[in-house]
């Protein structure tokens, strides 16, 4: 007997949230009737008919204006409809960015050839998560293109629309909305925990290089995709970090993993003195005819507004970013100088760090790193740590817990955001998981415990115990962070 379900291949189909449209507009550019098209600076998907674009932009304007009726300074941030959700972000004065996300839905098949019933699951999307994703889109654009207003000043609407088109066409393809979660709200940086000695070695390396290469304005030092030191302002480093770890590093990771004889392996310098190479700029220093250029980035856009060359140089798992004033012409000579100066030192440093790290682990034992599932974030220095995410790149976020639990964390984070006080929220979820959220001193900690028959007291004891265990870990984390803070302010 074949079950009717199987016979007609009836299966429930689950659709994850996806990008429906994304547009940028400025109402000042087309204030009069008949000029509406002029407001639109970027619109994806491009195939949408002109009048529909105008109508969609008009709706957003109307909603923003309507909410201003009730609070002039706090207009709409999101619009919820049955089928989709729209997020609004006024990135710069009068420049609005809108992202439209289709709600996750379930398609349930019907018998007798009737069309399937669609059930929209609005609760699955948390506003703070996608709102943050939208804001980050702007930050990433700004990192590589500077502000909207500057582009407009330099080359009018034409230049601005050109830049927007060029950037967002590619960038939107990297958005993976089905795997966004609490970490997108934080937009934090993972720090590499170091002992004092090694930290000082790195610092003196940076000082030496900056002294020898006087052109270098800012430096950032990363190891293993984690930050150790940065001379940039927090907000700039945060977006640069995201770019490095989700775009640049993954693109260049394969050659390093390739075997010794693989054609992918980069040409090592003739003298085999070091493993350093450029990730941006000259791919092969030995070829004198090869053209190269460094990507430009824009930092300190609120005050000094600096345009810089971004030099990323890597040796094994250590990567250094050198940022030089864009007005300077960086030629082959400079690159060779940098290569011979930094290559050997960085190679040595990288193996030092590795060795020291292994020694430390052996001493303190594997229990030093807390074994429980948690997410930690510090608002002051943007330090973030998650033992729940096994791999988080632009394209995938593998979590070891059920997505519903991640959304519960998102809910708790929203509740925390309402007041500026220290709080603790403990919840028991339907599946007998306990989630503990703690907020104190600008830090947030979320712990997920799977303790089926535990009660509140037992859970409380467990968390206290984990807190103690975690104390050392977090202390080390804090120590290196304090060092970063101190040196960054110099």
């Amino acid at each position: 007997l074949i079950s009717p379900r199987m016979a007609s291949g009836m299966q429930e189909k689950q659709y994850t949230p996806s990008l429906l449209s994304f547009f940028i507009y400025n109402p000042k550019f087309g204030p009069r009737e008949g000029e509406e098209e002029k407001k639109i600076l970027f619109y994806h998907p491009i195939e949408i008919e002109k009048n529909e674009k105008i109508r969609n932009v008009g709706l957003c304007e109307a909603i923003v204006q309507f909410t201003r009726t009730f609070s002039p300074t706090n207009p709409a941030k999101s619009l919820h409809t049955q089928k989709n959700r729209q997020f609004f972000h006024e990135a710069e004065e009068n420049y609005w960015m809108v992202m439209v996300v289709r709600n996750p839905m379930v398609e349930k098949p019907n018998k007798d050839g009737k069309p399937p019933t669609v059930e929209y699951q609005e609760e699955e999307i948390i506003d703070s998560v996608y709102g943050s994703v939208l804001q980050q889109c702007y930050c990433m654009y700004k990192l590589f293109n500077g502000t909207f207003s500057r582009a407009f000043e330099a080359g009018g609407v034409e230049l601005l629309t050109q830049k927007l088109e060029k950037f967002f066409y590619r960038y939107l393809q990297t958005l993976h909305l089905q795997s966004c979660d609490l970490l997108d709200v934080f937009g934090g940086i993972s720090f590499f925990p170091l002992d004092k000695m090694t930290y000082l070695k790195i610092q003196s390396f940076v000082n030496r290089v900056e002294e020898s290469l006087s052109l270098v304005k800012y430096t950032a030092f990363l190891y293993n995709d984690q930050l150790i030191w940065s001379g940039l302002e927090q907000d700039d480093m945060r977006i640069l970090y995201k770019y490095l770890t989700t775009s640049l590093f993954p693109r260049h990771s394969e050659p390093e993993l390739a075997g010794r004889d693989s054609p992918l392996r980069p040409e090592v310098a003739g003298n085999l003195l070091h493993y350093g190479r450029f990730l941006t700029g000259p791919a092969n220093l030995k070829d004198p005819d090869a053209k190269f250029r460094f990507p430009r980035i824009f930092v300190n856009t609120e005050d000094s507004y600096e345009e810089l060359h971004l030099i990323v140089y890597k040796a094994m798992t250590a990567a250094v970013c050198f940022m030089v004033n864009a007005a300077v012409d960086l030629n082959r000579e400079f690159c060779e100088q940098l290569d011979s100066l930094v290559g050997p030192q960085l190679t040595l440093l990288a193996s030092d760090i590795c060795e020291q790290f292994n020694i430390n682990r052996r001493i303190s034992g594997p229990e030093k790193e807390p074994q429980f599932k948690f997410i930690y974030f510090n608002h002051m220095n943007l330090a973030e740590k998650s033992t729940i995410h096994m791999r988080k790149t632009a394209s995938v976020s593998l979590t070891s817990v059920h997505p519903d639990l991640m959304k519960i964390l998102g809910d708790i984070n929203c509740d925390f955001a309402r007041v500026n006080e220290d709080e603790e929220i403990i919840v028991k979820a339907m599946t007998d998981y306990w989630v503990v959220g703690k907020k104190s001193d600008q830090r947030e900690l979320y712990v997920i415990l799977n303790q089926k028959n535990a009660n509140l007291i037992e859970v409380n004891e467990e968390v206290k115990r984990l807190d103690m265990m975690g104390m050392d870990y977090f202390t080390t984390l804090k120590l290196s962070i304090v060092q970063v803070l101190l040196t960054a302010s110099v």
Binding site: A62, N74, D127, E423
Partner: protein, 461 residues
């Protein structure tokens, strides 16, 4: 200041903005900008605005301000609804840092709530649904639909003239009474013997077509009896009771009696009952008798029932039982850290009054937030323990009850749990006195027609 109710009823000017939207299909941004200036700061400061308008964009009600002056704002709201609808979609809500705007459409009526209370969308929408039902309770759903079918431009204010205070009252009570959040009705604590005796008196005072008799004291339900043969499997929903109580409150009469049509929307949204309402204890007017009949002409017969009830009460001095009712305080149970609680066994609710009215209203906000999280359709929770600067809050739902409690901020988890356990034990002990188990058991059937059945007999399971 033009911020009071419009006296201009029944005439409605067709606004030019309406044609603009239709012509171009675009949003005239001038439309939205225009009403920006009218609004005063004090109008903006209100915590929750509620607007009712028709599908044609005509204003029907606004909680604050002159709805005539707000007609262009309402026009914008309707335009937003239609615009999204035209795309085969449905507008639900708009969120900003300070406000949540929630939309609800029921038939030809559109309801909009603009709230700074941080309630969830679902909670706000439920409140709008209550507003809709309150309007239905005055007009019936069938007649609302019929009116607008014939004339899309009808000005419903004509029919709701004088009823704004009913809606005002409903909105005020929803903001201060947790009964709405819990979809339950508060009962007057009474020993079951007293309650049974009162119910018995109500049961005896009958007349044909009388279907419900309620006894209410201080806004709490004392007893309900229901005619069995006319309304066999019917159940009264708490929401209908709230609407009924609100209508009575809003009519604000004291001496004498009222005879008014009322529809109970969840019971039957298309027809009227006729309610006889009188206070049994003038001039204090705390004990209210409500008799519902299906016969419009039955006033005298129903008034006679009231007289019989009054007589029976007087002979047994029944009003004293109600007056003597002891509201309990948490001190009774010696739980030093527990400041306040709400408890609802699967159907009915109660709470106590240790805190001031203001504090209890303030607690509604965090309670509602926890209620929303616990009852989430996609990720419901069983328990929330939230310790913050001002207090520690707990929300707990099991198959038998749901409970919200507020403790002093420094309470340890151990004490909180132990006090809660003490409280639960106490509630269990006092169950009879605290709750009316209206829905917990099947009605016992009588063989003769028109014999009244008391729904308040506590049949223990």
């Amino acid at each position: 200041d033009n911020m009071h109710r419009s006296d201009n009823r029944g005439s409605w000017e067709f606004q030019p903005e309406d044609t603009l939207t239709e012509e171009t299909g675009n949003f005239p941004s001038t439309l939205a900008q225009a009403n920006f200036k009218i609004m005063s700061e004090s109008w903006r400061q209100h915590r929750k605005h509620v607007f009712v308008l028709s599908e044609a964009g005509k204003p029907i009600y606004s909680r604050y301000g002159n709805e005539e002056a707000l007609s262009s704002t309402m026009g914008v709201m309707m335009a937003l609804v239609s615009f999204v609808q035209a795309g085969g979609n449905m507008i639900q809500s708009i969120f900003s840092d300070e406000h949540t705007v929630v939309f609800l459409q029921k038939g030809p009526l559109v309801f909009v709530s603009v709230s700074a209370t941080r309630q969830s969308e679902q909670q706000l929408r439920r409140e709008l649904l209550h507003v809709y039902h309150q309007i239905v309770s005055m007009l019936t759903q069938a007649s609302i639909n019929r009116i607008f079918e014939r004339r899309k431009n009808f000005d419903l204010r004509r029919l709701l003239f004088g009823s704004e205070k009913v809606l005002d009252g409903l909105l005020d009570v929803m903001d201060s009474d947790p009964s709405f959040m819990l979809s339950a009705v508060q009962c007057l604590p009474l020993p079951s013997s007293s309650r049974d005796a009162l119910s018995h008196i109500l049961q005896k005072a009958i007349t044909p077509d009388l279907v419900f008799s309620f006894l209410i004291a201080n806004n709490r339900l004392v007893s309900v009896v229901q005619e069995k043969t006319v309304l066999e499997d019917a159940r009264l929903k708490p929401s209908d009771l709230h609407l009924l109580f609100n209508l009575i409150r809003a009519s604000a009469f004291q001496a004498g009696e009222i005879w008014m049509p009322i529809c109970l929307p969840l019971f039957n949204h298309d027809c009227y009952f006729y309610a006889y309402v009188a206070y049994l204890d003038p001039p204090e007017c705390t004990v209210c008798l409500v008799l519902l009949s299906t016969d419009k002409e039955a006033f005298y017969a129903v008034a006679e029932c009231k007289r019989k009830i009054e007589e029976a009460f007087a002979s047994q001095n029944a009003l004293q039982w109600v007056a003597n009712t002891q509201l309990y305080y948490v001190d009774d149970i010696s739980v030093a850290n527990l400041r306040h609680f709400l408890y609802k066994p699967s159907k009915v609710l109660d709470h106590h009054r240790q805190l001031s009215q203001e504090e209890r209203i303030r607690l509604l906000d965090p309670y509602r937030n926890m209620h929303n999280r616990i009852h989430s359709t996609s990720r419901p929770l069983k328990l929330i323990y939230h310790s913050a600067g001002k207090e520690t809050l707990l929300a707990w739902v099991t198959s038998k009850f749901e409970m919200f409690a507020c403790f002093t901020p420094l309470v340890t988890k151990k004490s909180a749990i132990s006090e809660l356990t003490k409280l639960l034990r106490w509630i269990k002990k006092e169950e009879d006195r605290l709750f009316i188990f209206i829905y917990a058991f099947p009605l016992t059937f009588q063989s003769q027609p028109c014999k009244r059945q008391s729904v308040t007999q506590n049949v223990k399971k």
